[in-house]
Symmetry: C2
Subunit: 429 residues, 2 copies
């Protein structure tokens, strides 16, 4: 159901990681769901397309949330005085155990899906739980939001909660195969991704089995990496032959490869050796600075990842991150990088606004292919935003307005959200 | 025009810095603008008062913004890639120079005042500019918001902009006297506060003159302290006889005293010696962690201030802080303290939620007297908040809902704002 049209408005997008290109009162062209570029004057060839006039409104690329836990959404923003391992056992595991009940999942995932629809997010990489039925319910709901997602049925065969753990590696692998079979051919824009929770939750046998499954079926993998010091020390005990956390995934065959890149959340403590492994396997890092502050994890050295040429996007990491608001995460990522520069290492320069906006759009979007900017040939994911309630005493440039909306979105409204050229949300609907 | 009434709803407030007391479906009593306490069952003596039913809504104390620059409001959220001294000369001073024009000030301060009305803020300590007429315009507008404020006509006789500097110490002092004379008796809830911008902007003669004026007229002083390393080095050059930045204010007679306490914004780099001076003079610290991240200043050691018994509140510091949203500042202060703990000194424990909420309410409120909590005898500043759009899968305690609203206020609405018992804002108005 791809569509062709033109949007008129104040257009901004990253040409590259260091440059935001703007077209004040410009034209943005979508043909069959694909962006044909942004223009100051509409080229002759597109003059016959329907043109929707959003003069005075901002038009920016849709954003990619590279790491979010759907079942944690309804307890966001509470119990934030704990660190990772205690937070998992006290809040997260007991909550996720409820998703054994499909009726519970239906209701809770409805809150998540309904709210996701009205966020800046057009693409997301999502954790579900270990439960097949509930995960399929989530995927059914997400398919209808229009947002394009990878969704993972979680694997855990050790160190869980008494009500949140699978009986064995074999049972976990079998359950995963059944899930994949059941959803085969079911969705247009909702894709499965293998999801070992993290090394402490998965025996070597399970992790190896998932690595093999990924390779055989051409599936991707998502997981967590080097978030918290206690977690890292634990992984060292659990996989003593690994020289670092990423190497543990590597040894067990779960690091992915270029054609089916893995995404790893956090990487707060990833060093040179770990970066080398991430780069070698073409992995994406989901930078979750808000979560990393909330759980006192630390600050990931994002500048180093970018310098190494590692792909980095932004994850809200709900519920350790307290909201699905991607522009809040852009601001948080900038602030985190400034504190890393100031408090940890002043040779590591802070993120510029351009870089952070890039990470939230094209950086994470690259996980989905040609996504996250308005260059010719990219999938048409776009947000039409009304910032007219933010008063100023002078005419502001489009670039300034984009920066301002990320620093303060209190009076910013999403008017329209397009994903792959489809209108998926409209403020007046 | 004080009033007497009862509010019914889910009440929460700090009993002390470490305890949030809650009354689910409780009663909050206001008699002649003064809080008579919160109750689970309404005492007989108050049964004849009109009772407004906000069942299911949160009722929390109004918040105090201890440091905010009104003339910077309309350029919030842009140019945030600079540090303090460059940010001042490139953005702030040229903008503040516009306030020589009263018509400009009328319009710009209208944006500030109108937006302030609908924030969580019931008390504020405000910087204006060096211009008398514009400052009085701001005070006129603020008086009408119902918010209780201290407002400072700024003093600067050196190192300003060519269009933002007074001719001499004498001219600055004379202008200040004229301002004080003109506003004498003009307001009920808008108070003058002497406002030397900071040491680099004020000659010794000017600072001494302001210190004497404060003492003679029983006025308070607000200023900035130890925000940024380059600033601190500069102060060392400017006042070489001082052994620290606070000592420079002390030598020049501007540190204040118990009966007329000063408020100093930032204190990012305040050490033992500086804390000793702050404590000796009963000064308040306006903790502005959002601003301190944005300008890469660093993180103030708030825990140490609290341990020393120094009064600490929270300031949004617009426009180095990008919003006047106090609950966003509560979250930011907690995150900042977690990063201080994790990255700077792990013997300095992070702020608990209780402590941060206290700072934003009773901590800063104490600058205005008995303000910021619902204990008997406190001035009645209250917010009625609707968090019903934030779905949860289980009944949440009032304490949990208050934490959640500070971590994620996207779907939180201020229904009513009372200051000194007066209804100053109503969502339906």
């Amino acid at each position: 159901m791809a569509t062709s049209f033109v949007l008129k408005g104040d257009i901004a997008f990253n040409k590259d990681a260091n440059t935001i290109q703007t077209f004040p009162n410009g034209y943005l062209v979508c043909v069959d769901g694909i962006c044909k570029g942004a223009f100051q004057a509409l080229p002759e060839e597109f003059c016959n397309l329907p043109c929707y006039d959003y003069s005075g409104k901002l038009i920016v690329p849709g954003m990619t949330d590279l790491h979010v836990h759907a079942p944690q959404y309804t307890f966001r923003g509470i119990g934030m005085d704990l660190e990772l391992l205690d937070w998992l056992t006290q809040y997260t595991f007991p909550e996720e155990a409820h998703y054994a009940d499909l009726q519970y999942a239906k209701k809770a995932y409805r809150y998540f899906s309904d709210d996701l629809k009205r966020t800046f997010t057009t693409r997301a990489v999502v954790f579900a739980t270990i439960h097949n039925e509930s995960t399929i319910e989530l995927m059914d709901q997400l398919e209808k939001t229009g947002v394009v997602t990878y969704v993972g049925r979680v694997n855990m065969d050790r160190n869980g909660d008494e009500n949140l753990q699978e009986d064995s590696a074999g049972a976990s692998l079998k359950g995963t195969m059944e899930w994949l079979k059941e959803i085969n051919g079911r969705y247009q824009r909702t894709f499965p991704i293998l999801t070992p929770r993290f090394i402490p939750s998965c025996s070597d046998e399970l992790m190896r089995g998932l690595g093999e499954m990924a390779q055989e079926q051409g599936l991707r993998i998502q997981s967590h990496l080097s978030e918290n010091r206690s977690e890292i020390a634990w992984v060292k005990e659990l996989v003593p032959e690994a020289d670092c956390y990423a190497n543990a995934y590597e040894i067990l065959g779960a690091m992915g490869e270029e054609e089916r890149p893995s995404v790893f959340a956090h990487c707060v403590y990833s060093d040179e050796r770990e970066m080398e492994i991430l780069k070698k396997h073409h992995a994406f890092i989901a930078h979750c600075s808000d979560s990393n502050m909330n759980l006192s994890s630390g600050i990931a050295p994002v500048r180093k990842f970018l310098e190494q040429g590692i792909s980095v996007g932004i994850g809200t990491d709900v519920a350790a991150g307290s909201s699905m608001n991607m522009v809040k995460e852009i601001l948080n990522a900038i602030q985190a990088s400034k504190m890393y520069y100031r408090l940890v290492d002043d040779t590591v320069k802070a993120l510029t606004f351009e870089e952070a906006f890039y990470m939230a759009t094209a950086g994470g979007g690259a996980y989905f292919g040609k996504v996250g900017t308005f260059l010719d040939g990219y999938e048409f994911d776009a947000l039409v935003l009304d910032d007219s309630n933010m008063a100023s005493m002078r005419a502001m440039s489009v670039r300034e307005r984009v920066e301002r909306m990320c620093y303060n979105d209190a009076d910013l409204f999403i008017l329209k959200k397009y994903v792959q050229g489809n209108l998926t949300f409209s403020r007046t609907e």
